[in-house]
Structure formats: C-alpha cells, structure tokens
C-alpha cells in the first residue's frame, strides 16, 4: 500500500507563495516552545500534587503550530482536540489562560473549571467547546461549515483529532457529509501512533489515515508532523482552496507522542524502550532549532532570546494563575439552560 496521493498543490511555484517571513518563523518557534514549556510546568505541577490532570501535546507542537498558523485567527473556526495547546496558543490563548485552565480556576475562559484540563472553547477565538468524547467535534465542525456556506461567509473550519478518533463513526460521517456538500473543513489528523496504548496496526488495516479519504472523495495529504514549515506549507494551500469553495481536505501529520497518554498513564508499560530512548532525535523543536542554525532561517541569537522570554512568561503566568480565585461548590450551578433574555 502507498500513501494516498497528495493532491494539495505543492509545486515549487506554489510553495513560493507560502514562504514564511522571518517574523513568522520566529513566531513559529516561539509558539512551539511556549507550548512545550507550559506543558513541562503543568506536568511538574501535577507531580507536585498541585494540578489534578495533564494531557499534553508534547512532540506534536510542529504539527499544531504549523497548522494553526495557516488559519485566519479570529475569523476561521476551530474544533481542536485536547492535545492541541499549540493550536490554541496560535489562535490567541495566553500563557496565563493556559495556566488558569490547568488549575481549573474560576476565570479559565475555556470552561471556568467545569471541564477537565485541555478541553478547549472560546467564543472570541471561534473555538468550539470540546468534550472528552473523541471525534464528536468533527461533526460539529461540519455543521459550522454548512451554516457558514448557507450564509456565504468565507470561513474555513479546522477540525483536528488524533488517529485514534478516526476509528469512530463520527469521523466517517463527518468526512462523508463534508464531501457531499463540498464544505470548507480541514480535517487535520495528528497521527502519533497510539490510541493510549493501542498501536496503529491494531487501529486500522491501512498504513495511513489519509488513505481513508479516497472512500469519501476527499482531497488528502500526508505530511511530516515533525516539520512545522512543511505542515504550514501543506495546510495553508488547503485552507486557501477550501475557502474558495474547493471542498474539504484530510491532512495527516505523522507525529510522535513524546509523553504518556496523560498524567495518569505510564507508557513504559507498552512502548518499546528504544522508541522512548530515541525520542530526542525526533523532537520537532530541536529539529526546528537545528534548521534555523543550519539554514539561517533567522538570526540564531534570536533563538536564545525567544527561549529566555518564554521561560519568564511561563513562570510569571503560573505565579499569577495560582493567585486567581478558585470556584466554590455552588459555582457548579447555573447555565444548564441558556437564558432566552441573554441571547
């Protein structure tokens, strides 16, 4: 079997249109690093007993940031999944808000402490509220895209998930409906090789999630999810085409899950030792850094400035977030129904 044909235009002329400026490349590095450093702190807080639960995207930052930067923040809709801190940061979530979310604080803009960590949602950033049930959000994205098409609004809906979600019926129903109506949805699958502990060969009989696109007549691509620039240059043309009425795309980013499924999981029980030991060579942030240095994408001294800036930002955000109010028990009440006078 071979990967399904890449139909997203990737000729050299097209790529030229999607070159990233020095400023964008610096942002790309900054977002990836911010995501990683935040998650490292979150996991430390968890181990210290100060954060109840962490579910991270460590190792998937290149895919998340590369894809997120292909969107029009504040215009396009997003239905990300729980590992997508990188996407959320690109769409405007701050380090402070990420820490509020981790601590379940009353002012967490995602769910005000009502949902587990990393269940995103934001009206301002056009992020559709997410649950823990995987793949349901893909169908919501299709509904948003259908509504936008009915109103002739030129938006794109970004719907992401892990490869584990692609086993669920909602994934297939979403692709099918989006293809029938040529809806502007980018289905972005971060294939990290595991559904918790179940390896892809026990999840699906085909080598690539993207292979499934042909059944629905959807344009597809496979991209190296460790290469943020390649991800951007794959997703961005798809977003542009989709916005112009080109229909949906299924893009599979081949990723590597750096950590266990969550703070409650120990992946040493089911992952080969050499896979974990060789991880450093597949760290997308380290890979990006070497490329900056080798190809002079931007002045290498800026890397250090970005890193120290991110470290300060994360520490300050954490300190600030701990001082913010916690919900009290009764904050669980209310808003079961939307008040008709508040619409």
């Amino acid at each position: 079997m071979t990967a399904s044909q890449t139909r997203v235009p990737r000729s050299s002329e097209m790529l030229h249109d999607y070159l990233l400026s020095e400023e964008q490349l610096e942002s790309m590095y900054r977002y990836m690093l911010l995501s990683r450093r935040l998650e490292e702190r979150m996991m430390t807080l968890n181990r210290q007993g100060r954060a109840d639960f962490v579910i991270a995207g460590a190792g998937q930052e290149a895919a998340q940031v590369g894809a997120g930067m292909a969107l029009k923040a504040g215009v396009d809709y997003a239905a990300p999944y729980y590992r997508d801190l990188g996407v959320m940061l690109v769409l405007g979530m701050t380090a402070r808000e990420a820490m509020l979310n981790t601590l379940g604080k009353l002012d967490d803009p995602n769910s005000f402490g009502r949902q587990m960590t990393s269940h995103w949602g934001s009206v301002d950033r056009r992020v559709i509220t997410q649950s823990s049930v995987v793949a349901t959000q893909l169908v919501h994205a299709v509904g948003v895209a259908l509504a936008a098409k009915m109103r002739n609004d030129p938006i794109v809906v970004f719907a992401s998930c892990g490869e584990g979600s692609t086993s669920r019926g909602d994934f297939h129903e979403a692709l099918n409906f989006a293809a029938i109506h040529k809806l502007p949805v980018i289905f972005f699958v971060e294939n990290n090789g595991y559904a918790i502990s179940v390896r892809t060969e026990k999840e699906m009989p085909v080598p690539h999630v993207a292979d499934r696109a042909s059944a629905y007549g959807i344009q597809s691509a496979v991209v190296d999810g460790l290469d943020a620039i390649a991800v951007y240059q794959t997703v961005r043309p798809a977003v542009d085409q989709s916005r112009r009425g080109g229909g949906p795309f299924l893009i599979e980013a081949k990723c590597f899950r750096m950590w266990a499924h969550s703070s409650d999981d120990d992946h040493r029980r089911y992952r080969p030792r050499e896979e974990l030991e060789n991880w450093a060579s597949r760290d997308p942030i380290a890979l990006f850094r070497s490329r900056v240095e080798e190809d002079c994408l931007f002045p290498p001294e800026d890397l250090d400035a970005i890193e120290s800036g991110v470290d300060v930002e994360v520490r300050a955000a954490e300190k600030w977030a701990f001082d913010q109010p916690d919900p009290v028990g009764e904050d669980a009440l209310g808003f079961v129904y939307k008040d008709a006078d508040d619409v």
């Binding site: 269940h119 949602g121 559709i128 349901t136 169908v139 919501h140 509904g143 509504a147 939307k338 008709a340």
Partner: protein, 325 residues
C-alpha cells in the same frame, strides 16, 4: 374556523418558521420528498436549499445540527423514527445537553430535534418505542411531547425560538388521528408548563401524547359512572412543571400516572417521586401507574401490541380501583 390534524399543525408551523426566519432550515432523511410521514411536504420546493436530505446517519444529523446552531443558524433536525435516535444519543447527551453549562452560557445551541414516537401503528420493535425517559434524564435538553394540534403549533414555535436544544416528540399514531379546531383552542406557548385539561374531584390522571387522549376518553366514560377525573396534559417532560403537578395531585389526593413507556425507569417514577416527596400528606391513596410491561417494546402482532399498550379500558379500570380506595 379551521380544523387541523397533528401532522398539519407540525407542517404549518415548519412552513411558518422557514418563512419568518432565514436562519431556519430543516435536515434529515427523506425530507426533500416530504418525509415518510409527509411532515415536510412541499417545503423543499417552497424554500430551496433550506430543506436538506441527509445520509442515513443519525449521529451526524444531530452533530451537524449542533454545529449549525453553534454558528447561529436555527436548524431543525428530523429523526425519522424516535427508535433510531439512539445513534445520536452521544451527540445529545455528551455534547448538546452540556454545551451551555460547560461554557457558562457563552456558547449555546438554538436547535430542535423533531421525531415521531409511540406505538399503536403495528410498527414492531423499532417503529413504536417511547424514548422520552432516556432524554428527559439529561439536564440541558428540553423534552416536549404535546397531545393536541394547537399545542403542537405553539410549542413547536416556542422550541424553534428557544436558545437551547429541544427534543420535540410527535406521537405518530396521533398524526392523522387527532384533529382539533385550533382557533380559540388553548395553546401553551411556554416550554416547561403543563395544563390541567379536565377537572374532577375524585382522582388526578397525568399523561402525554396518545395516552393523554386515552386518558380523556377514560375520564369521559368514568364520568358516566359518577367518577370525576382531573386530567393533566404534561406537555413538557423535561423540565417537569412541578407546580402544576403538585397542584393537580393535591386537588384530588389520588394520583394515576399513564405512559406507554415501560414501567421501570419510566417518567411515571419521577412524577410519583415529586408528589411523594412534596405532597405526601395530601394523598389519600398510593400512587398508581399504568404503563407498558417491562418487556422490550414493542411486539408486532396486533394481539401482543394491544396487550402491551395502555388504553382507555386499562386506564378506566385502574382509575375505578383508585377511586374506590
């Protein structure tokens, strides 16, 4: 004066909603050709692009409805038979019901899911069921089950205007069976309110859908024998109208709850609990329930179907026992 059936009331209300608000659209299976019960007859031609046939996939019908409502449209989904809605249970239970709660109302879903329910049509296991108890158990979903055409009109209109997910249950046996002069007829336009449809001093019957009509027929028969019933048309099954339920229970002190749904875990248990907790001292008899037996609903053969379904005779028999208590 105009007499309309339940089905006509539904169709006219959908027509009116499509005409009044560009954001309203319909989606579901076979809707473009009018639907299997003809509830959308002629609407696809009248409103091009706003009556959509969907693939036969209930989870995505509900999920797409969620997405479209989130965006600000006013989608009305049809699930062809309530028996098939459970493929969309996850989308209703895990997503729609808690959309507002988990965002403190920042995100909300002005959406309606309509579906024909109930037995008496020789529909066997998967064209006859009562599914309301599963969905009325979900805080965040409003469940409406009218009985008369005038209420179908006013409550469907209210459901479409509501900023929350509403499961709108249409009893399929009553679609053509029940007709009403709707002009001047009582029409409840507030979701969450029940109506005392008939007053009598001897006992109070609670029912909805086809069983409301069977209960009224039983009450008429009993009146001939000097037994006077109060009959409550519940109209909304979630949230329940506790005030009217308690008022009607206290008025007679004897309570009979009727539903087609199977007994155990049916809505009758919740209504009985509300009354037992809050009006115990006003009761003169144990609360009685007339419901489907605890077998997988519903048998196909007419004899077994009739055995399964509560009807006016079974209701009247239970009411006589209760009145004599």
């Amino acid at each position: 004066m105009s007499e309309v059936s339940v089905l006509e009331a539904v169709r006219e209300t959908l027509d009116e909603a499509l005409g009044a608000d560009d954001r309203v659209f319909l989606l579901g299976e076979d809707l473009e050709t009018g639907g299997v019960f003809r509830a959308t007859d002629g609407l696809a031609e009248k409103y091009p692009g706003r009556v959509l046939d969907t693939p036969l996939a209930e989870s995505s019908i509900v999920g797409i409805t969620i997405g479209a409502a989130h965006y600000g449209q006013r989608p009305i989904a049809e699930i062809q038979f309530a028996d098939f809605i459970h493929a969309g249970f996850d989308q209703l239970c895990s997503e729609a019901s808690r959309w507002s709660w988990r965002t403190r109302g920042e995100q909300y879903l002005p959406m309606v899911v309509r579906t024909p329910w109930g037995g008496g049509v020789h529909g066997g296991q998967h064209h006859s069921q009562s599914i309301e108890a599963y969905y009325a158990h979900m805080p965040g979903i409003k469940v409406v089950a009218p009985s008369f055409p005038a209420d179908y009109r006013s409550l469907l209109k209210a459901a479409i205007a509501d900023p929350n997910p509403v499961l709108f249950l249409e009893h399929k046996r009553t679609y053509r069976l029940i007709r009403q002069e709707v002009d001047g007829a009582p029409a409840e336009d507030r979701i969450g309110h029940s109506r005392i449809t008939r007053t009598g001093d001897d006992l109070t019957v609670f029912a909805y859908g086809l069983m409301l009509h069977e209960s009224l027929a039983a009450a008429e028969e009993l009146a001939g024998d000097g037994i006077e019933c109060t009959v409550v048309d519940l109209l909304t099954l979630n949230p329940l109208d506790q005030e009217t339920i308690l008022e009607a229970a206290r008025a007679t002190g004897k309570v009979l709850i009727v539903h087609e749904d199977t007994l155990t875990g049916g809505l009758g248990g919740e209504i009985a609990a509300i009354i037992a907790e809050q009006a115990f001292e006003d009761l003169d008899a144990p609360i009685r329930r007339v419901a489907g037996p605890d077998i997988p609903p519903m048998p196909f053969h007419e004899a077994m179907e009739s055995f399964f379904m509560p009807d006016r005779a079974k209701i009247a028999a239970a009411a006589r026992d209760l009145a004599a208590y």
